[in-house]
Symmetry: C2
Subunit: 124 residues, 2 copies
DNA sequence: CTGGATCCTCAACGATACTG
DNA sequence: CAGTATCGTTGAGGATCCAG
């Protein structure tokens, strides 16, 4: 039996819910370029609270997508890096971010057209 | 100035938030294979309520990713179809679903390993 | 520096009922 | 068939403080 995300009971649904997530996309996109520390990630992603960052990192770690390495320095240094599995996903989700950045103008134009429908009378 | 999803103020962030969405991914995945009607979509995606489906469809329509066509039959028939812009996105987001379905086993294994860390003593 | 614990708020969602 | 409207709940997330 194949996994099927359209089936409600399939565990795939839970995974999809986690990776189809704005913050996960941005985090994986950063880590694709190399390991990073907690505060470095926090500063790189504006409006991402420390709580949600910690939450998201722990979930991604649990899913085997990244590793958390603590170095016994003072104060402690923690580094996050993609696993091989995470690397296969990073390319996929980064494509999502790139799509958004590439097509933002078209989307905004569509939004203006939608919001203005019926409010103007073209050539009538 | 390039759009940058890591910048909090960038409109790209809003778009990313919308397309990095479980339901949007599943809807676009279905429409990639051809136009569909409302209740057909609803039945095809388990646990998706009619309210959230309507909401998501309207947002995707506003973003110029799909079209809504109502046929004056009795009762009314409404068909949803991808726009050319939506088609460029559908492939990208469908890759997300396919990744989830392809790697679910590895993710679940990682989850078990994570949840069981420290609870067993390997070969000690 | 890297978080965990707490409190609080608001918005998303399910359920339900109704309409063209 | 294809939705809109309303209500009630819940849980995600911001803010803040504290600790190893």
């Amino acid at each position: 039996m194949q996994p099927n995300a359209y089936t409600g009971a399939c565990p795939t649904r839970v995974v999809l819910d986690r990776i189809a997530d704005k913050w996960a996309v941005l985090i994986l996109g950063l880590l694709a370029e190399g390991p990073m520390r907690f505060n470095s990630l926090r500063r790189s992603i504006e409006r991402l609270s420390q709580k949600v960052l910690a939450q998201t990192l722990r979930r991604l770690e649990r899913d085997g997508l990244l590793t958390r390495t603590a170095f016994p320095t003072v104060p402690v240094t923690v580094e996050y890096a993609l696993t091989p599995l995470g690397r296969t996903l990073a390319e996929t989700v980064d494509a999502l971010r790139l799509w958004a950045e590439a097509h933002i103008t078209e989307v905004q134009a569509a939004q203006r057209a939608y919001d203005g429908r019926g409010l103007v009378m073209p050539d009538a």
